[in-house]
Structure formats: structure tokens, C-alpha cells
């Protein structure tokens, strides 16, 4: 380790300890466990700054936060999965004594021995760790893959294909003529007047149609087909732009949240 790195680490450690002391002192008036709370807030601020330090370059503090995150998030999801699925969903169906042990309510309709099957399949899945019996783990995997494939086949055929096509068939010529006045009134993008709705419906219909033409690669994009494809990519560009803007603003709001945490919860500069 270089000497400069060591000095930076010592300085950060000292700042951490100082921050902990000051934060705990500031919290001592209102909270019982102010030492632990002060430590946790300081640690959260340290991790926030450690991740932000990546903007300069990859460094040991960022690596620290990154590796800690991997370990803790893996354990978090495992624990949540165990307590919400195994304990709450499976155990009350298999054993009353185990349900009592884990302090979860017992199954209203009695035990369901069929639920030993996923336990057996789950144990078979763990056979993947065995060098010789690893092939048995394909059976539970086949069960998961098969049911998911069948489920997705129907689900996506309905929601992403049939439903989307049926929703695209919107009225292009208006439902009922209400006179020139109502037709032209409210020339506003958010209005529900007939003209604006019709224009929007045409944009939706042509946008979907031309977008699909753009994604159809079995025919050369020339002539009228090529024009449709060009309109399709224009519509797609608007979408990509809108999605980009939306994503940027989402990230900015997260950044605002982190900066608020640093200046309000940690440093106490901003009043609540």
C-alpha cells in the first residue's frame, strides 16, 4: 500500500470517528440509543460519499462499498425469501409444531402434504453441488422452466400481443359528430375535444404500425415500405428521447434524496 493511500485512509478514519462523536452528541438529547444511531448515520454518509467517489476514479472506498453491498444484499434477499416464502407460505402447510416454533399462524384448511413435493424438488436442486449427482438438479429446473414457459406463453400472448393490438384499434374518424364548434374547441394537447383525440388516435395507430414496419426485417425497406419504416424510426426516436429524459430525471431525484440525506440527516445544515 502506498504511503499517500495510507494517509488518506487514516484521515478518513479520523473524520469518521469525529463525525460519529458529533452526531451521537447531537442525537443524545432526543434518543436513547444515540451512540448506535450516530454510528449508523455516519456509516450511511460514509457509504454515500464512498460510492460518489467513483466519479473521480475507482478507489478503495468505492470497492469497500461495492463488496459490502454484494454480500449484504445477497443475505437480505435470502432472509426475506426464507421468512416470507418458506416460513409463512410453506411451513404452516406442512407442520403445526414447526408453525408454532416459528410463531406463524397455522393453516386454516389443515395441512397440505402435497407441499412436500417442492421441498423434495428443492433438495434435488441442491444436488447440483454434487459432482456425480448434479444431473438430478435438472428435474426441478425442468419443472420451473416448464411451468414458467407455459405461463409466459399465455401471459405474454395475451398482454403483450393480443391486448396491445386490440388497444391499437382506436376510432380514427370519430364516434359521433357533435358539430364544428365542439370539434374545434379546446385546441389543447391535454383536451378531450374531438380533433385533439382524433389526432392522438392517428398518431398512436400510425406510430404502432410504422414502428412494427421498422422492426420487420424480412422485406427490404424501400419505397412505401421504406417510408413507413422511416416514420417508425422517427416515432421510436421520440420514445427514446422521452425515456431518456424520464430516466435522467428519475436519477436526479435519487441524487437529490442522497444530497438531502447528507445535508439534513448527517450534517444537520438543512432544517426539516
Amino acid at each position: 500500500m502506498r504511503r499517500s493511500t495510507l494517509i488518506v485512509m487514516i484521515v478518513v478514519l479520523l473524520l469518521f470517528v469525529l463525525s460519529w462523536i458529533f452526531k451521537a452528541n447531537a442525537l443524545s438529547a432526543g434518543e436513547d440509543n444515540y451512540i448506535a444511531r450516530g454510528f449508523l448515520i455516519t456509516f450511511a454518509a460514509f457509504l454515500t460519499l464512498a460510492v460518489m467517489s467513483f466519479l473521480y476514479q475507482d478507489n478503495p472506498f468505492y470497492k469497500f462499498a461495492e463488496h459490502l453491498f454484494v454480500g449484504i444484499s445477497a443475505a437480505f434477499w435470502m432472509c426475506m425469501g426464507f421468512w416470507t416464502t418458506i416460513v409463512q407460505n410453506l411451513i404452516p402447510r406442512l407442520s403445526t409444531s414447526l408453525a408454532d416454533f416459528f410463531q406463524v399462524p397455522q393453516q386454516a384448511g389443515g395441512l397440505e402434504p402435497f407441499f412436500f413435493t417442492p421441498v423434495i424438488l428443492g433438495i434435488l436442486l441442491l444436488m447440483r453441488l454434487s459432482p456425480k449427482g448434479g444431473w438430478i438438479s435438472r428435474w426441478p429446473l425442468a419443472f420451473i422452466v416448464g411451468t414458467t414457459a407455459g405461463l409466459n406463453f399465455i401471459r405474454y400472448l395475451r398482454s403483450d400481443f393480443i391486448k396491445q393490438i386490440s388497444s391499437t384499434f382506436v376510432p380514427l374518424l370519430g364516434r359521433q359528430w357533435e358539430g364544428i364548434g365542439p370539434f374545434l374547441s379546446n385546441l389543447d394537447l391535454s383536451a378531450t375535444g374531438q380533433l385533439v383525440v382524433l389526432i392522438s388516435n392517428w398518431v398512436v395507430f400510425l406510430g404502432v404500425f410504422c414502428g412494427l414496419i421498422y422492426f420487420f426485417f424480412s422485406k427490404e425497406h424501400k419505397g412505401a415500405f421504406g417510408f413507413g419504416s422511416r416514420v417508425g424510426i422517427w416515432i421510436l426516436m421520440i420514445t427514446f428521447g422521452a425515456s431518456f429524459g424520464y430516466t435522467v430525471m428519475g436519477r436526479i431525484s435519487l441524487l437529490v434524496g442522497r444530497i438531502t440525506f447528507l445535508f439534513r440527516d448527517w450534517l444537520g445544515i438543512i432544517e426539516t
Binding site: A44, F76, Q103, F114, N152, Q164, S167, M237
Partner: protein
């Protein structure tokens, strides 16, 4: 048998899930619910497999002294600590010997790793592991201020688990995602040029949507809001729909290939 039975199972269960959709009988729905629950339960075992894999990969990196290998200790200690917090909770107000237990348990983990990766002092590390393991067991037996519970009908009880979630996971997660704002802005600054119609459309759409969130636009802001909403609800919807139809067809085709045994990548080698 090693490869045929899985193909048959995939076909049978896949076709059943399709078939049951067209059978509006309660027994069909009952089996459907069962199978869904089973899939979720088996998924938890797959998660355990993932954790074991993480442990092995980390130990392997330590063993072969890969670049930045030292941080893998941190990953494993974080994993183990959070797991312990996830399976324990206070019985009353005091924590008793819980934190010495946590330190001893983590020392057991680190010493086991050391015994795995080194050849020279394996005996010493294993002896120390045994000592700290005994300490852990003694604390478990004699300290009744905490126990192996986590959640009850009243809800989450483990305060340390919650504290780690709030003060470690959330800050890192939110900051990592917020960093993308800088990277996206930097990429946009370099790439966004209104060179042609398509680039101009992209630029304008992005600009209008971003301006919509700006609170300092005064009298112009209602118009920007309307334009942004229209962009999101009309042209954006149209193109998203075209993309979604493509994705839907792709998923349906892939599901069919899996069920018919044409796609067998999930089985791996051997």
C-alpha cells in the same frame, strides 16, 4: 435418462400451464395455484445455491490472490453478518452477549476461509475455529437475551436487520443509481447533436420531458407539462407498443422452443 426426462418434464408442465388456461374448472385453477406456489418455493432453494456459489467464488478469489482479493473477505463477512441478523432478534430490551457472539461467529467464518486458502498453518486456523465455535455455542446456550426468531404475526422484529437495510443497503443502492445521472448527462453532452431529423426529435423529446420536472418555469410550465404528458401518452405509447408487441412475440416463440425441447440451454453441459 439424464437429458430426456427433463425435456419431457418441461413439455408436460409447459403444456399443462397452457391447457389449464382454457379449462375454467376449479380443480384446474387449484392445480395452477399449487404449481405457482411450488415454483416460488423451489426458487428459494435456488437462492441458497446462489449464496453457496457466491461463497465459493469469493474464496476462490482469495485463494488465487486475484486483483482486489482482500475485499472478498468484506463480501463474506457482510453476507454472514446480515444472515445472522436475519435469523436472530432480541427477546427484551438488552442485547446481552449478542455482539460478542456476532464477532465470534464472524471470526469462525474468517478462520474457516483462512484454513481453506492456506496450507502452512491450517492446523492453527482449525484449532482457533474450534475455540471460537465453542464460544458461539456457549453464548447460544447460556444467553437468553436474544433468540433465533425474526418475524412474527406482528411483523418484523429484528432491529439490526432493519438498521442494516436502512443504513447500508439503501444508501449504497440509491447512490449507485443516482451516479447514473452524471454518467448519462456526460454521455448526452457528448452525443446529443441535432445533426439530422432523428437526432433532433430525440433531443427535443428529451428536453421537453426534462423541462416538465423543472419547478422554476413560471407561466410556461403548464404548456411544458401538457406537451410532456402528450409526448409520454401518445407517441411514446405508440412506439412502446410496437416494441412490446415485438418482445411479446419473442417470448412466446422462446417459450414454445423451450416446451418443444428445441431450446435446451437450461440443462447446461454433461
Amino acid at each position: 435418462m439424464k437429458r430426456q426426462i427433463p425435456v419431457v418434464l418441461v413439455g408436460v408442465f409447459g403444456l399443462f400451464m397452457i391447457f389449464q388456461y382454457f379449462v375454467p374448472h376449479e380443480s384446474s385453477e387449484w392445480i395452477y395455484e399449487f404449481l405457482l406456489d411450488w415454483t416460488i418455493i423451489i426458487g428459494i432453494f435456488a437462492m441458497a445455491l446462489g449464496l453457496w456459489s457466491l461463497y465459493r467464488v469469493s474464496v476462490e478469489k482469495i485463494k488465487t490472490r486475484k486483483p482486489a482479493w482482500g475485499y472478498n473477505y468484506l463480501t463474506l463477512v457482510g453476507l454472514f453478518t446480515m444472515m445472522l441478523f436475519g435469523f436472530t432478534t432480541q427477546n427484551g430490551e438488552a442485547w446481552g452477549w449478542f455482539f460478542p457472539f456476532m464477532v465470534s461467529a464472524n471470526l469462525v467464518l474468517v478462520l474457516v476461509i483462512q484454513a481453506t486458502v492456506t496450507k502452512d498453518m491450517r492446523g492453527l486456523f482449525l484449532s482457533l475455529t474450534a475455540v471460537f465455535f465453542v464460544v458461539c455455542v456457549l453464548i447460544i446456550i447460556f444467553d437468553d437475551t436474544w433468540g433465533f426468531h425474526f418475524e412474527t404475526a406482528e411483523g418484523l422484529r429484528s432491529t439490526m436487520f432493519r438498521a442494516f437495510f436502512d443504513n447500508i443497503l439503501i444508501p449504497i443502492f440509491a447512490t449507485m443509481f443516482s451516479l447514473l445521472a452524471f454518467f448519462i448527462a456526460s454521455a448526452a453532452y457528448r452525443a446529443f447533436r441535432a445533426r439530422n431529423v432523428m437526432a433532433t426529435l430525440l433531443l427535443l423529446a428529451a428536453l421537453i420531458v426534462m423541462l416538465r420536472f423543472n419547478p422554476y418555469f413560471g407561466p410556461v410550465s403548464p404548456y411544458v407539462n401538457k406537451a410532456s404528458n402528450w409526448l409520454m401518452n401518445v407517441p411514446n405509447l405508440a412506439a412502446q407498443r410496437a416494441i412490446v408487441i415485438g418482445i411479446g412475440l419473442g417470448i412466446v416463440a422462446t417459450s414454445l422452443k423451450v416446451m418443444l425441447g428445441i431450446e435446451r440451454g437450461y440443462m447446461g453441459k454433461g
